[in-house]
């Protein structure tokens, strides 16, 4: 079975092809984020312009023709409405034209499943960290449980906003990580409640410091504090669920520092820690294809006229199957 997956929840329009659980193509085109962040309409327009090329590129990478595709998957949500729409329309068009089944994938589950598959884990606890989301997840029976999550904004969103407020470009997490090198610690608000955490207080605090402290020190302190918060909440969830495996997924999983902290924590408890390569942690179509293939194999598909998008599509609403 070969399944084509389309991801378009935020700045990336990605098309991946998966054949029997193996990723054979992972093409993407990104909206270039300027000083104003993402402007939804502009992002969607960029996606519309890129869609045909990215789809062709994926087929070429896989060495396939349209007729080789046996199913389509797309991101139903969560994400930016305008952007999700582009992915949904592309997917519906393809499914109709090729006369193949279509299925709707939750973006976060895509992230978690590809990390699981690339790191060869069976039943991990997952820390899912991206722009809009920060959650601690575990699968129980046929659905995912959210054990802990952010009270306000996602960690990625916080790092991006910090970069913009300090006028660092490109304004995203990896720039913060680079700027942080060799910084000194200044105190930041540390907000963890059980397995939940909050980031806006730190963002405000850090932004107010920008005239008194160097960018280097601010970035270093925010990063160390925020990642320590995530690691602590994850540690608590690990002990509570008695998990033997841990993975980190989502865009912020590209951070070296975060992975190092989680590795250190996992080692202390003798737990296996894994993650996917960076290209699969950033938003991508392959993860949607991977999940869509599994869903179609379990008979989960959607009628064309019932395909929708949902901007706030929660992971714990999704019903799947028992392992």
């Amino acid at each position: 079975m070969a399944v084509l997956g389309i991801e378009s929840s935020a700045h990336t329009f990605g098309v991946g092809i998966v054949e029997e659980g193996r990723v054979v193509a992972n093409a993407k085109a990104m909206y270039k984020i300027g000083s104003k962040g993402m402007i939804p309409r502009e992002v969607a327009e960029t996606h519309i312009a890129n869609a045909p090329n990215v789809i062709q590129e994926a087929l070429k990478e896989a060495g396939m023709k349209f007729s080789d595709i046996d199913g389509i998957g797309y991101t139903k949500g969560p994400g930016i409405g305008y952007c999700l729409h582009v992915g949904m329309l592309s997917a519906k068009t393809l499914a109709k034209k090729l006369n193949v089944p279509i299925t709707q994938v939750n973006h976060g589950i895509g992230h978690m499943e590809i990390a699981k598959s690339r790191a060869k884990l069976k039943d991990p606890l997952a820390l899912y960290v991206s722009g809009g989301n920060s959650q601690i997840l575990k699968k129980y029976g046929e659905s995912y449980r959210v054990l802990g999550e952010t009270f306000d904004i996602g960690i990625g969103n916080m790092l991006d906003s910090l970069a913009r407020s300090l006028k660092l470009y490109p304004a995203w997490g990896s720039t913060v990580e680079k700027t942080a090198e060799g910084g000194k610690y200044v105190e930041m608000p540390y907000t963890v409640k059980g397995m939940d955490f909050s980031f806006t207080g730190m963002l405000t605090h850090a932004s107010k410091m920008k005239d008194r402290k160097s960018d280097k020190d601010i970035c270093f302190s925010v990063q160390e504090t925020a990642y320590a918060m995530l690691t602590e909440a994850t540690e608590r969830a690990l002990l509570l669920t008695n998990s033997k495996e841990l993975c980190v997924c989502g865009g912020v999983a590209q951070s070296h520092r975060l992975k190092r902290m989680l590795q250190g924590m996992a080692d202390e408890h003798g737990i296996t820690f894994g993650y996917a390569e960076d290209t699969f942690n950033a938003d991508n179509g392959a993860m949607i294809a991977l999940m869509a293939e599994q869903m179609l194999k379990h008979g989960i598909k959607t009628k064309l006229q019932d395909c929708t998008i949902e901007q706030r599509y929660r992971i714990d609403e999704v019903k799947l199957w028992k392992e």
Binding site: A228, E232, G264
Partner: protein, 195 residues
């Protein structure tokens, strides 16, 4: 000194001081975070927990007595007994728990992890332990969360006895209950208890 339990952020040791059995809760170092954050957090949390225990006792709830406070450790009384989750409590026990919770709340203390795994049943009645996630707070949300966590971890009958004692003492039980019902309606809490 014998290691008796290891939690997410601390290790419990048992020892005898002048012949009296004592428990030591030691917040251990986490190598994965930088020293400044690590030391600051451990020190601050140790102090806060000790303070919560002392004030909880003053409020009239049965909690382990604090004998001494170190930089990262609390020396406390060993109360013995069995965890509520592993025992069969009487109606009277559950009412006592409800009364203790009401007393804590009335004195601005919320426990933060009020489950059957953090209550001991001893021959001197129930004891509330582990204030590691506790806060000094008068917020309805925190109070409601204490009740919610307990409700999720015990039987309906036991919870009814807790409620009976709680509502007879807590002056603000109506607003707390209202908040409790709101929390239950929030999607995320419905899916958060463990299997």
């Amino acid at each position: 000194m014998e290691r008796v339990n290891e939690g997410a952020e601390s290790i419990m040791y048992e020892t005898k001081i002048a012949g009296v059995p004592m428990l030591i809760k030691f917040r251990n170092k986490k190598l994965w975070r930088i020293d400044k954050i690590d030391e600051e957090l451990r020190e601050r949390r140790t102090r806060k927990e000790a303070k919560l225990l002392i004030y909880a006792k003053k409020a009239g709830a049965a909690v382990p007595g604090v004998a001494a406070i170190g930089k990262y450790s609390i020396f406390m009384q060993k109360v013995g007994g069995k965890l509520l989750k592993d025992s069969k409590p009487s109606a009277h026990d559950m009412q006592t728990i409800g009364r203790y919770l009401a007393l804590l709340h009335a004195n601005g203390i919320t426990h933060g992890d009020f489950t059957s795994a953090n209550i001991l049943l001893t021959k001197n009645g129930p004891f509330i332990i582990d204030f590691g996630l506790g806060v000094f707070s008068n917020s309805e949300e925190e109070k409601a969360l204490d009740l919610l966590l307990l409700e999720r971890s015990i039987s309906k009958k036991d919870y009814a006895n807790v409620r009976k004692a709680y509502t007879s003492i807590a002056k603000d039980h109506l607003t707390v209950t209202k908040r409790l019902n709101e929390i239950k309606k929030r999607g995320r809490y419905q899916t958060r208890t463990l299997a």
